[in-house]
């Protein structure tokens, strides 16, 4: 691929990738106050990794986030989500009822939303990274 040898793209990606990763975290944890949330944050995080993989090759990207790690995290996100729900049952509420997670309902809601958005973000980000690896590494 010739885009890998293009110095302008490579250098500008070094400027962009940290900003994209930081923006993903902002979207993740600011979703309560502005537009965004776990889903968008996961996609933006994955897009930074994909940009790196496009410019430096999948092999080098896999040194940062190996496929196995991404696959494990895809399941981990769903587990975080479900355990937040089950925690509601354990603490005396219904499944995914966040009111019981903290001393007062509003704080419980904040915790619940934070945790499940984290679960969504982790799953979506790692699923997209894994799918990209699957396509990029496919050999006929």
């Amino acid at each position: 691929m010739s885009i890998r040898r293009n110095p302008v793209l490579r250098e500008s990606s070094h400027l962009l990738i940290p900003a994209i990763l930081l923006f993903a975290l902002y979207v993740q944890f600011h979703g309560d106050y502005g537009p965004g949330g776990g889903f968008q944050a996961g996609v933006i995080f994955a897009s930074a990794i994909i940009l790196y993989a496009l410019l430096h090759g999948t092999r080098r990207a896999e040194k940062i986030i190996p496929l196995k790690l991404a696959r494990t995290f895809a399941a981990l996100g769903i587990l975080i989500y479900s355990f937040t729900g089950i925690l509601g049952i354990i603490l005396g509420g219904n499944f995914l009822n966040y009111n019981v997670l903290a001393h007062d309902p509003i704080h419980g809601q904040h915790w619940g939303i934070l945790l499940i958005e984290l679960g969504v973000g982790i799953t979506v980000g790692s699923v997209i990274i894994s799918i990209f690896y699957a396509f990029a590494k496919f050999k006929k």
Binding site: G37, F39, Q109, H110, I113, T123, S130
Partner: protein, 169 residues
Amino acid sequence: MLAITAIAIIAMRNILSVVMLGGIYSLISATLFVVLDAVDVAFTEAAVGAGISTVLFLSALAITGKHQALTRKNHIAPLFVVLVTGAGLIYSTSDMPAFGDPQAPIHTHVAPRYIEQSGQEIGIPNIVTSVLASYRSFDTLGEVVVVFTALIAVLLLLGINRGSRRDDL
């Protein structure tokens, strides 16, 4: 703009250009969502539709090929299906309430409660997040599982573990 892009997508034979136009189509849809004040949806459309799916299509093209195979099949039956579906959709829009009608069912069912009560019940300013993550968290859990299922399907189809005995079950 959307219609022009869609027609260009149909007319193109080079799949690479079609994928690029698909990304443009998503970006235009995203601006449309911003105009409709659906910022969260616009955000998702721009990130997923214009960004990730374009890249995924491109990597799929790298596996397959750049040109669409010319087919000499009969196009009457598909055209008929498309026309009937389109006519049905246009017919059903005549029953929809007028745009921005405050008496529309969607504005009288649960939406007022979300708008009025979510500030006290959930305590966060973004109502979209409180609906998505709290009132409708069952649905969101389902969506996350769907995304995960997509990953399992892709890994099964592309056989990423082919050749490595260690991972075989």
